[in-house]
């Protein structure tokens, strides 16, 4: 982490700066261009004009993980893809957030019993912030997930020393 990240005392001015930074981060989440299976179709619908994710500042999918701070994992992650998903998450700049979209990514979905090659939930590979269930989820559900994530990001302690957030950041690998 940076020199000042989670290193300052938890007092009012620091909290105010945290709130400002969190507001900025939450209002401009840049998702990564990433789609695996059928859930990606719904995700594209969310980006497109009818649902227009850009209203929430998250409608600019970046072509590289270096520029993105949110990865939506939409679709069945099989064993071969799992390595790639992990590497993509590794290559994202911090702070980075993960939305697991769809039943397969949340816990195996229809493949939970007989799927010999399906990773039963992407949380086994990367730490997930928001789970969006559904097969596939409606675009509104994904938007709800992004808004929930936005609440989390806004509340996160950036500079203040806060035990709970520090624990979350450790779990996230940051």
């Amino acid at each position: 982490m940076g020199i000042l990240n989670n290193a300052l005392p938890d007092i009012a001015p620091v909290r105010a700066v945290d709130a400002a930074v969190g507001w900025g981060r939450g209002s401009s989440l840049w998702p990564m261009t990433f789609g695996i299976a059928c859930c990606a179709i719904e995700m594209m619908a969310v980006y497109a004009a009818t649902f227009d994710l850009d209203r929430f500042g998250a409608g600019v999918p970046r072509a590289t993980p270096r520029q993105s701070d949110l990865i939506i994992v939409p679709g069945t992650v099989n064993a071969k893809m799992a390595v790639r998903v992990r590497r993509l998450w590794d290559q994202m700049a911090e702070p980075r957030y993960v939305i697991a979209m769809g039943a397969c990514v949340c816990g195996g979905g229809p493949y939970v019993k007989w799927g010999y090659n399906t990773v039963k939930g992407v949380h086994k590979i990367i730490p997930v912030d928001i789970f969006v269930p559904g097969c596939p989820p409606r675009p509104e559900a994904l938007m709800d997930g992004i808004l929930k994530l936005r609440e989390n990001v806004t509340r996160e302690a950036v500079f203040a020393r806060r035990e709970a957030t520090a624990r979350i950041l450790d779990a996230r690998g940051g």
């Binding site: 982490m1 940076g2 270096r66 993509l88 590794d90 290559q91």
Partner: protein, 131 residues
């Protein structure tokens, strides 16, 4: 005497501060956590193949330079054609345009004679040696 340039000094300091301050702030604020998997080259999550600093065929360089002749020519022809109607001395405007094209055409003739238009140069060279 030099005091009359104090505005330049102020501009210089302000300019340097506007560059340096965000960089220093970034060092203080940004999370920094490099590790091998994060810093490796991005190849859509595949293992990177080879190096980014590869050798490139020099013929593309001359092809790009020749392309400039046509590209810039056309780019300047459009505004010239637009103002041509309203020009008071159209013969002069036409002469200027023709002179411009002629100069660039001379460049084309030059590269043609030099053999830069030929993609495969070795054959031409060999022919010249034999003849």
């Amino acid at each position: 005497m030099f005091l009359s340039y104090h505005a330049v000094l102020v501009f210089l300091i302000t300019g340097m501060a506007m560059v340096c301050t965000p960089m220093i702030l970034g060092v203080l604020f940004r999370p920094r956590n490099p590790y091998p998997a994060k810093t490796m080259a991005y190849e859509c999550a595949e293992d990177p193949v080879g190096d980014a600093q590869i050798r490139f065929d020099m013929r593309f360089y001359s092809a790009a330079l020749i392309f400039i002749i046509f590209d810039v020519e056309i780019a300047f022809m459009f505004p010239w054609a637009l103002v041509f109607q309203g020009f008071h001395d159209r013969w002069l405007a036409l002469a200027e345009g023709v002179a411009f094209i002629a100069i660039l055409f001379l460049g084309l003739v030059y590269v043609w004679v030099k053999g830069d238009v030929d993609w495969v140069k070795t054959f031409r060279h060999r022919r010249r040696v034999q003849g």
